[in-house]
Amino acid sequence: MVWGVLQFPGSCDERDALNACRLAGGEARLVWHGDDDLGGVDAVVVPGGFSYGDYLRAGSIARFSPAMTAVARFAAEGGPVIGICNGFQVLCESGLLPGALLPNDSTRFTCHQGELVVCEADSPWTAGLEPGQSISIPVKHQSGRFFAPPDLLEEIVSSGQVAFRYAPGTNPNGSLEDIAGIVSREGNVLGLMPHPEHAVDLLTGSVDGLEIFRGVIGAQVG
């Protein structure tokens, strides 16, 4: 199992993601934004941060990078891709996931330990989790308000693409339907605002994020 973690100028959580991948199992390496070849990795992490400064709109520049072209190809072939926080924003901007992430309704950055509820999505990323299960994972972002027009939102919900919701009463940003994470129609691409890579060690918090990474390892082995 070889993990590739994208690195853009302005990425912040790429080393955290490498650490999480290794703890979950396997080898992990950085993939430079200028490379149009993923180097044969088995799964891709698009990490958090502020790619290219995000001065225009979160994720809007990163989608044009050669590495994202390669990720789109990889995803089209069914390869597992996870976008965390800025990575989720990049995946939405790239059209690999539906919807958009808008600035938090508070207009402020928020950082706290969040409670998520696992939903019934068919995806290797959630294979190790039970629908309805509650997991504790840090939330930290400035633009995490999930938005989709009514028709699209209805489609996302009805087709079982919602992977995680904020626990009732804890929606930190005004996301529609309390949505914290969604998967692609095929299930191989997951995007979520909370940070599973920051929930992999009891010393620094919780370990609930590990199961998300391990789900993909299970699918690869299986």
């Binding site: 302005g10 001065y55 950055f109 928020t110 950082c111």
Partner: protein, 727 residues
């Protein structure tokens, strides 16, 4: 007015410059002298005092004089840290002022060859019932968050206090902590005549021209809106690229030396590099990449454009350095070279436009003796209107709702405190943050503290108290101090009463450091913090880094039902200088002398108790006294207690009100099993059992006074800050 006076130089200083040069300086030279001879760069009113501080210790790797201090944490690693102020820029433009303050201190640590791993900040504002104060609080907190969050550096701790003397002159002090392989660290000294001087990072523009002399070294006036152009604009994305670029350059061993560009821009960074290396330096301003056309040589030399670093590189390595800068899409320009002339030479159009001896420019600034005089009357407003005879059940909620004491979660929620995967203890219940350093097989604790109110009442005793409190905060997470950094925020030192505050405070800082055996490895001085309404409280801010050998033992949780509570330490509470005195309008001069030795013994006892895992939690007593300390624990745990302060009153003969709300160093609240707490007794440190952790109410008995409040009532008061600052 003569040009030199406009630039902040006195007639005598100007004459001194002419004497040294043997002629009058030209415009370029005058601009450069005026900045390096400003208080901000030249420390002319503080250098003699700072020389009295202890700076040596077995773990010190780099001390004062470098870009930041550093201590050895073992396994080939060092931790670099420094605190710096950005007060006046933040008063003029809070968001950019605070953001660039964070950016500046990050570069100091980056310049040492370290990767920043944590930020802390210490902020001071006027009371938040004022609209402009709310604007400042909001802008500063957003600015601190913007820069740190965007860089991927966690903000793990800090403090915010509110008092009238800061209303027109807020304080924004930021501390950065970095981690480096000790053998890869670089010094700021230039060396090797013929080596190239390389400017990396952002383009140079007209922003921030004269910031060090105009903003940082003079009092703020009413016309400061016009100074907005002297505040720089931050670009954390550029700095993030610059950080990764520098890390790669250092890992390949490509740099002879590295220096950040901060106050006074190229002038100070190149000058200080040359001075430290005892060499000359030549800068060709035509080779500096500019953001705008038509800049004069003097503007290029003093521009404070952000996100720039200066490096000395051997000529045959410049190609590789340029490649790495290109990879990170950050600027690279050879702007000059190291010489053996001992001169700082500026050229343009092939001609010399400035030439000064490095020694005169960088180290020639005169130092002044202060003329201290103790004030004859209390120089600060005394506005509190709480009735001192009110019942404890009314006083405690008032204290908890005081913005200085109230929960700061509103601010911390806006900072990324976990990026980097090192944060073992996040901002919140604990007194210090704990960061894991797995590569060094250890952990560190970091804390930042200051109490202008108490230092105003007694500069010596108050400053001793701040240092002891910082060490106490570390002890509560089992950490032993390794080193200290400080930022001395004071008013105009040319005024005798401020000079007295500064002199006494630095004495207290030195005395406390010597007693604790903690070296001062770096710091910063911010003077002239005053406006037409008077000086700020004298506010020495102390940042401390300590060692936690095993982060798994850290007592980060508050108490639990069934625990017993003990008061540990020689705590002798007094309402002098307390938040109670501030709220009741009775602040005034005078603070009891602290029991330094007794407090240090208590600090050591608590540290060992936490490390051994025999206690569940440790919390030091600070603003608001025991009542507030117990209330905070009850709020974090959502379990109350039943405490009796009779033993404290018997030992110290303090009044019941002092026992509840009095402050002073040397007090810890420990919780855990009764036998474990009792076992701490008999070691020369007072240990008084207060009672059990129980129920949903805070019940405290102190002589004839009684306090009984539900946790819900406490929470309403304690969580009042968002409503106050968001208006």
């Amino acid at each position: 007015m003569a040009r030199h006076r406009e630039l902040g130089l006195t007639d005598r200083e100007y004459e001194l410059i002419c004497g040294r040069m043997g002629r009058e300086p030209n415009a370029v030279e005058l601009a450069m002298f005026s900045l390096l001879w400003s208080e901000h760069c030249g420390y002319k009113h503080s250098r003699k005092l700072l020389g009295t501080l202890p700076t040596e210790g077995p773990r010190v790797v780099m001390g004062p004089g470098e870009n930041a201090g550093a201590v050895d944490v073992g396994n080939g690693y060092s931790v670099a840290f420094k605190v710096e102020s950005h007060n006046h820029p933040s008063a003029v433009e809070p968001f950019q002022g605070a953001a660039t303050g964070v950016g500046g201190i990050l570069r100091d640590v980056i310049a040492l060859g370290a990767r920043p791993i944590a930020m802390l900040d210490s902020l001071r504002f006027g009371p938040p019932d004022d609209e402009r104060t709310r604007y400042l609080v909001d802008g500063v907190v957003r600015g601190v968050g913007h820069y740190g969050n965007s860089m991927g550096i966690p903000t793990v701790g800090g403090e915010i206090e509110f008092a009238p003397p800061y209303a027109q002159n807020p304080l924004v002090n930021a501390m950065c902590v970095g981690l480096a392989r000790t053998d890869e660290m670089v010094r700021a000294a230039a060396s090797g005549p013929g080596n190239l001087v390389v400017l990396m990072g952002s383009l140079t523009g007209r922003d921030g021209i004269g910031g060090a002399s105009v903003l940082a070294s003079a009092e703020l006036g009413d016309e400061d809106e016009g100074k907005r152009p002297t505040v720089q604009i931050g670009d954390p994305f550029e700095e993030s690229k610059l950080l990764e670029c520098c890390q790669e350059l250092l890992a390949e061993g490509l740099l002879v030396s590295l220096q950040d560009l901060g106050a006074a821009g190229l002038t100070s960074s190149a000058g200080e590099m040359a001075s430290a290396g005892r060499v000359g330096i030549e800068i060709d301003v035509d080779r500096v990449p500019l953001r705008e056309g038509g800049m004069e040589p003097f503007e290029i030399m003093v521009s404070e454009s952000q996100e720039r670093m200066l490096a000395v590189v051997e000529p045959d390595r410049a190609g590789r350095v340029e490649e790495i800068c290109e990879k990170w899409q950050t600027g690279f320009a050879v702007v000059g070279e190291v010489t053996d002339t001992g001169s700082f030479t500026v050229t343009s159009g092939g001609e010399t436009v400035g030439e000064m001896a490095v020694g005169d420019l960088v180290d020639g600034c005169p130092t002044y003796d202060l003329d201290p005089a103790e004030p004859t009357e209390w120089p600060y407003p005394n506005g509190g209107d709480l009735d001192p005879e009110a019942s404890p059940d009314e006083i405690l909620p008032a204290l908890l709702a005081s913005p200085t004491i109230a929960s700061k979660e509103w601010a911390f929620d806006q900072y990324d405190s976990i990026v980097g995967s090192r944060t073992v203890v996040r901002p919140g219940p604990a007194d210090a943050a704990v960061l894991a350093l797995p590569e060094a097989e250890t952990a560190i604790a970091v804390a930042i503290d200051g109490s202008g109110r108490r230092v105003a009442c007694g500069p010596w005793a108050g400053t001793v108290g701040v240092v002891l409190e910082c060490a106490a905060n570390l002890a509560c997470v089992g950490a032993e101090p390794l080193g200290l950094t400080n930022c001395l925020n004071f008013g105009n030192p040319e005024k005798p009463t401020v000079a007295w505050q500064l002199t006494s405070s630095v004495e207290g800082l030195g005395d406390a450091c010597r007693a604790l055996g903690v070296p001062v490895v770096g710091g910063n001085v911010s003077l002239y913090n005053e406006t037409s309404s008077g000086p700020i409280y004298p506010t020495p801010v102390i940042g401390m880094v300590g060692e936690v050998p095993d982060p798994a033992t850290v007592a980060s949780c508050p108490w639990e039902e069934g625990d017993e509570i003990a008061l540990v330490g020689p705590f002798d509470p007094s309402r002098a200088g307390s938040e109670f005195a501030a709220l009741t309008g009775s602040l005034g001069p005078g603070l009891p002398d602290p029991d330094i030795e007794g407090t240090i013994a208590a600090i050591e006892l608590v540290r060992e108790a936490v490390r051994s895992g025999t206690v569940r939690s440790a919390h030091d007593i600070s603003d608001g006294g025991i009542a507030v300390a117990l209330a905070e624990l009850a709020l974090f745990a959502e379990v109350g207690c039943q405490a009796d302060l009779g033993a404290l009153i018997a030992r110290t003969e303090c009044s019941p009100a002092d026992a509840l709300f009095g402050e002073g160093p040397g007090g810890f609240i420990l919780a855990g099993e009764k036998a474990a707490l009792e076992a701490l007794g008999g070691q020369g440190v007072p240990v008084e059992m207060l009672g059990p952790v129980v129920g949903l109410e805070l019940r405290v008995e102190a002589g004839n006074l009684e306090l009984e409040l539900g946790i819900g009532r406490l929470r309403g008061a304690w969580e009042s800050l968002p409503a106050l600052v968001e208006g």
